[in-house]
Each structure stands twice: as structure tokens, then as C-alpha cells.
């Protein structure tokens, strides 16, 4: 028996090492962004049940915007759209542009399009469907749909409604990114944060702490002003502006500036 201790220790240690490694494999196999992407696919499928439209083509994987530098140097990469896959879809917005009977956009006195409730909003339709299913006592179906609204990540519960949401219309825009194309600006040029990160903790913790909103207010106001003035004057953006906006400085936020 005395001699077997070594063997038993070896077997136990091998088992522990394998299971520890298995946890890492598990982590790699189910990254956070796939949760949101799967929810997105399910929501599109849900939408196709009542619109009759086929769900748009979508492949699960890391999505990124690569912005080459004007001159030389490493490209800037934003991977935010790996989780925020619905930024460009109007059916992920609670509001829509108001139009009159002829289909013309209704503007308010500032020249900004008026917004009204969007009846095509997937999230609103989802809530209605859940209510309907609960009334007819199809609780398992309702639970299935309700599970799309939250994501469980490392013990945190995140609101998927906030992840899968259309980008708000800035200034006189009538569709998302009309006057600030996402493939030209990326995300972190305005929103800061770590564009390379793919997890909430690494990329979005500043948002969660609330410090980023405060810092962004100035940027947002500035951008909105520029957007509305640009619509009046021209859509051209000078190179200087772009270069300035590419500058990556998350440390300013970490230091609370």
C-alpha cells in the first residue's frame, strides 16, 4: 500500500490538472460575445415569425472594424460590434422617424427629425408575445423568450436589451450612422474604452461604473452640434478632426480626468 501512494497522488494530480485545464477550455468555447450573438439570432428568428421576412445572414464570430492610419503605424481595431451586433437595425430601436402621409420626414423646429414609437421594435414585440403566451398558459415558451432578455456572465446578470440596441440617431440623422459612418469612425474614437476587448469587464467596466457617461457628455454635445451643423453646411470631415478622434486615450478616464 505504501508504494501506491505515489501512483494515487499522480492520478489525483493528473485529474486536478486536467479539470483545471478543462475550465479554461470551457471559457474559450463559450466566450461572452457568443451569448449576445446567439440571443441576436434567436431574436431575428422570433421577428421572422411575425414579419414573414427571412432573418438576415449572420455568422457567429468576432466582428471588428479596422481603421488604417492615414500615414503609417498600426491600424486601430474596434471589436465592440462583436457584442453590439444590432447597432444598424431599426427594428432594435424603441423609436422611429415620424413621417407624414406622403412619406416625408417630419422635422421639429431645430431641423431634427421627430421620433415616434416604433411598432416594429423586436423588444416590444417580445414583451407582447410573452404576455400572450402567459395568458394562454404556455409558460415554458414564455420563459424561453424571457431568457433572451438577460445574459448570465461570470455571476453577473446583464440586460441584453442594452446590448442589442440600435445606435441612437445623432442630430439630423434619419438612419443610424448616416452622417458618421461606423466603418470610418469606429467606436472608441467617440466612446473611448478598450476597443480590442471582448468582455464586459475588460471593455465596458467604465460604462458600468458610470464614470464614462460623465466624461462623454462634452464629447456627445460636441458631436451632435457638429452633426447638425454638418447637415446644414457640408458632410465633409477634415482630416485633422479624424486624426484627433482616432487618438486612443483610455488612461485619461482611468485617472478620472
Amino acid at each position: 500500500m505504501g508504494r501506491d501512494y505515489f501512483q494515487i497522488t499522480l492520478i489525483v494530480l493528473g485529474f486536478i490538472a486536467t479539470s483545471l485545464f478543462a475550465v479554461f477550455v470551457w471559457r474559450e468555447a463559450f466566450p461572452e460575445y457568443k451569448i449576445y450573438q446567439k440571443n441576436y439570432v434567436a431574436l431575428e428568428k422570433f421577428r421572422s415569425t411575425y414579419t414573414g421576412e427571412a432573418p438576415p445572414d449572420f455568422s457567429i464570430g468576432i466582428k471588428q472594424i479596422v481603421i488604417l492610419k492615414e500615414d503609417k503605424g498600426p491600424a486601430k481595431i474596434d471589436r465592440c460590434i462583436s457584442c453590439h451586433v444590432a447597432l444598424e437595425y431599426s427594428h432594435f430601436s424603441a423609436t422611429k422617424i415620424a413621417r407624414d402621409l406622403n412619406g416625408n420626414i417630419i422635422y421639429n423646429e431645430d431641423g431634427i427629425p421627430k421620433q415616434i414609437t416604433n411598432e416594429d421594435d423586436v423588444w416590444a414585440r417580445l414583451d407582447l408575445e410573452i404576455l400572450k403566451l402567459e395568458k394562454s398558459n404556455q409558460n415554458s415558451e414564455a420563459e424561453k423568450l424571457r431568457s433572451l432578455k438577460t445574459a448570465h456572465v461570470n455571476g453577473n446578470i446583464f440586460d441584453v436589451k442594452k446590448v442589442l440596441k440600435m445606435h441612437p440617431l445623432m442630430g439630423a440623422e434619419t438612419r443610424p450612422f448616416e452622417f458618421h459612418p461606423i466603418e470610418e469612425y469606429g467606436c472608441t474614437s467617440c466612446h473611448n474604452g478598450n476597443g480590442l476587448g471582448l468582455t464586459t469587464i475588460k471593455r465596458m467596466d467604465l460604462f458600468l461604473m458610470g464614470s464614462m457617461k460623465l466624461n462623454l457628455r462634452g464629447l456627445y454635445l460636441n458631436l451632435m452640434k457638429r452633426m447638425s451643423s454638418m447637415t446644414r453646411n457640408s458632410l465633409k470631415i477634415t482630416t485633422e478632426n479624424r486624426v484627433m478622434m482616432y487618438y486612443f486615450k483610455p488612461h485619461l478616464f482611468l485617472l478620472g480626468l
Partner: protein, 441 residues
């Protein structure tokens, strides 16, 4: 009259039958080690095992004597080499790429964070285990007799481990790395300068510049991935080789030599010198003694395969489990390095915080004088210790003074490190560790 013509040419049938075993034998020069001859040969003829002795003393296998500390340190070095090579495939040692590559890589490449964490934690653990191994060797008096110089090599290996860890610290190029290396290189700059030089020569040689920048980064990178590992690997080899030449690990002399017992060949793994010998032995010499030992092995020695190798495997697996377990704690990657924004306090890596604490009292003596004296003093221990007893015993009674001095010295260093790590805040002022401002290593 028939003359021997050499080996007979095989027929095709014989050739085909013998082909698999011939192929296996062309790779492995021994049979499967299920008997004593092959147990000897596998160690003797295998490149990777041949730095072991064929047989080793049972005392060396006692896990409570060595605590496996040397093997654990070697295992950490192996893990560091493997994970380090994986990191090298991605890393770019330039100022404007290093940080972004780290961030990019660790967030998108499968298992990247695991490898980086393993590398980081193995490095910290290696510093710790080198120190623990050195303490074991001291407390068991294993540096005595023939082993004096191996202790010196061990001290050099300790310094190399610290340098390896220190040079690797800069590579992520975040604020933590940048300011830790700035502090570390400032400590190196407390060496009195050569006359006629504007900047401290020692510091400039370390950084290849007057401040931490691109030149320092490439210098630290080459030191970290090529120069220092090469020297360390070589010296580890010398360290092992000397242990073998000194007759294995230190141990107390065998007190009794009982009558040799006759070993019976058994079908299980009990060792013996098999009756069905594969070799013939000639008479070498005649010796005088009370007990002729025929058909017996040396008393208390067991075969390296499987006993020693199994023990080493256990130590390796323990290390792997330790490192993998620690790897769930993510290695830090702070804001990108910014020379215009010094952190306060700027702290060196934890194993240098004892030095930094001493530097706070006196720059030259704390940063240069004492550390040099400490290293030289450690190397001189075997030459100053005149007590011939106690080798192979934990805390031998005759060595009370040596043990007291070593323990007092190491406790003092440990206290300095703890103070430097947890009790020093902005401007190196005293803070309580539960006040937010302590080192983030």
C-alpha cells in the same frame, strides 16, 4: 574449415518479421523497463534521462527531506520556457506596438490569457521557490564538503532568476511595468558613477538610454528571451551535473549496514539482479570485508526508473496544478505606459521592494552596497562555515548559530519586503494596507 563470415544475411521472411522490432530498437536502445537491466539501460541510454543516476538513494526520495523544492523550481523553469515561447510568437518589442499587441492578443486569441497568466504566475512562483529551495539547502547543511561550489552556482542561479523576472516585467509596456522598471533601474543607478561621465554609466548600460524607452525595451527583451534563459539553462545543467558527481543529494551517512540480503527474483516489480543475466561479469578485484555481496545491489539504493522519475513527475504535476490554479487570477495589464504620468507610489517588483525600502533610508547602501554584500555573503557561506557536521539533517543541533543567523537575516528581508509592499503609499510614506493605496502586483 568454416570461417565466421559475420552476421548472416536474413531471408525476406525473417527480415519482414524482424522489421517492427528493428525499427523500434533503432529509436529506443533498450527494451521496456520491466526488469532491472532495462531499468538501468533506459536511464543510461536515454538522452533525456541520462543526467539521472541509474540508482539513487532512498533518502533522496523522501518528500519530507527535499520537499521537492528543486524539482518544483525546475518544473517552473520548464513551464516558463514553454509558455514564454508561445508568448514570443505574438509579442512585438516596440514602444507603439507592445501594449496594444498584449491587449489585442490576450482578448482574442484562444488560451492567450491562460498562457500569459501561467507565465506571470510561474515567474513569481519561481522567485519564491528558488528562495525556498535555497533555505532548504541551508537548513539541511547541504552546501558542505564537496558541494561548496554548487551552492555558489545556486546563488548565481538565484540572481539570474531575479534578473529574468525583472527583465520580463517591462515587456507588457503598461504603467505598472514602466514605473517598476524605472524604479528598478534607478536603484541600479545608485552605483557611484565613473568620473567624467554625465549620466550614470551603470544605469545607461542597463537601459541603453538615460530613461526607459524603446532602447531599454529591446535590450530587456533580448536579455529576457535569449541571453538570460541560455545562461540559466546552462547553469541549471551544471547544477545537476555537480549533484551527480557529488553522489546524489546530501543525506546522513547510513548508520547501520545490515547483512546484505539475498534478493529473490520475483515476477512483480521488486528489483533484483536477475538470474537470467544478459551480461557476463569478469572478476575485477578482490576486496577485504565482512560481507561479500554477491548478486546484491548497494544497500538502500533503488532504481531511478521508476522511483525517482515518479517522484519528479509528482513534483511537476504539483507545480502544474499550482500554476494552473493561480492562472485563474488574471495578470494585470494597466493603462499604456506614459512617461509623463508617474504613478505614486512607483514600486519595483515585489522581490525588489526590500531593496527599495532600504533605498528609502540610504540610496547607495540600500540599492547597491547591501545587495552586493548580500550576494557575495551568500556565496561565501560554505567557505565561512567551519562546522563539518549537520549535512543531510534538517536543523542539525550543532548548527544553531548558522541557522539562527540565516533565519534572522531572511526574516529581516521578508519584513522589509512586506513593509515595502503593503505599508508604503504615496511618496513612500507609511500607510496601513487597508487604506486603498498599496502596491498592485
Amino acid at each position: 574449415m568454416a570461417e565466421f563470415q559475420g552476421k548472416r544475411r536474413e531471408s525476406w521472411g525473417e527480415y519482414l518479421i524482424n522489421l517492427p522490432s528493428m525499427f523500434v530498437r533503432s529509436i529506443f536502445r533498450h527494451n521496456y523497463p520491466n526488469n532491472d537491466v532495462d531499468r538501468s539501460e533506459i536511464v543510461f541510454k536515454n538522452f533525456f534521462l541520462h543526467f539521472h543516476p541509474v540508482k539513487c538513494h532512498k533518502h533522496s526520495l523522501d518528500p519530507f527531506y527535499t520537499l521537492g523544492l528543486g524539482t518544483i523550481t525546475t518544473s517552473l523553469f520548464l513551464i516558463l520556457t514553454i509558455t514564454g515561447i508561445i508568448l514570443m510568437f505574438y509579442y512585438i518589442p516596440t514602444e507603439d506596438r507592445a501594449y496594444e499587441i498584449m491587449k489585442d492578443w490576450q482578448d482574442t486569441t484562444p488560451f492567450a490569457m491562460m498562457y500569459r497568466n501561467m507565465h506571470r504566475w510561474s515567474a513569481h512562483m519561481m522567485v519564491l521557490f528558488v528562495f525556498l529551495h535555497m533555505s532548504r539547502v541551508f537548513y539541511t547543511g547541504s552546501y558542505k564538503g564537496m558541494r561548496k561550489f554548487n551552492w555558489v552556482i545556486g546563488v548565481i542561479l538565484m540572481v539570474l532568476t531575479l534578473l529574468l523576472s525583472f527583465t520580463g516585467y517591462l515587456l507588457p509596456w503598461d504603467q505598472l511595468a514602466f514605473w517598476a522598471i524605472t524604479v528598478g533601474s534607478n536603484i541600479a543607478g545608485y552605483v557611484p558613477n565613473l568620473p567624467g561621465f554625465e549620466n550614470n554609466v551603470n544605469r545607461v548600460m542597463l537601459l541603453a538610454s538615460t530613461s526607459v524607452g524603446q532602447d531599454a525595451l529591446i535590450r530587456f527583451y533580448v536579455l529576457h528571451v535569449a541571453f538570460l534563459p541560455l545562461i540559466t539553462g546552462t547553469l541549471i545543467g551544471v547544477h545537476f551535473w555537480r549533484i551527480r558527481k557529488d553522489g546524489g543529494l546530501s543525506r546522513p551517512p547510513d548508520r547501520i549496514r545490515p547483512d546484505p540480503y539475498r534478493v529473490v527474483q520475483r515476477s512483480d516489480t521488486k528489483e533484483s539482479f536477475a538470474p537470467g543475466v544478459k551480461r557476463t561479469y569478469g572478476l575485477m578485484e578482490l576486496v577485504k570485508g565482512t560481507c561479500p555481496t554477491v548478486d546484491k545491489g548497494p544497500y538502500n539504493f533503488v532504481f531511478t526508473w521508476p522511483h525517482l522519475l515518479r517522484a519528479e513527475l509528482v513534483a511537476f504535476m504539483l507545480t502544474l496544478v499550482l500554476v494552473l490554479g493561480l492562472s485563474f487570477i488574471d495578470a494585470p495589464l494597466e493603462e499604456p505606459a506614459d512617461p509623463s504620468k508617474p504613478t505614486n507610489p512607483s514600486k519595483a517588483p515585489w522581490y525588489f521592494l526590500g531593496l527599495q525600502e532600504m533605498v528609502a533610508y540610504d540610496a547607495f547602501w540600500g540599492g547597491v552596497g547591501f545587495p552586493t554584500l548580500i550576494v557575495i555573503g551568500l556565496m561565501l557561506i560554505p567557505y565561512l562555515d567551519r562546522n563539518p557536521h549537520g549535512s543531510g539533517y534538517w536543523f542539525h543541533r550543532s548548527r544553531y548559530l548558522a541557522i539562527f543567523l540565516y533565519t534572522a537575516f531572511m526574516t529581516w528581508q521578508g519584513i522589509l519586503i512586506v513593509i515595502g509592499t503593503y505599508f508604503r503609499g504615496a511618496n513612500w510614506g507609511f500607510v496601513w494596507p487597508w487604506v486603498e493605496n498599496y502596491a498592485r502586483h
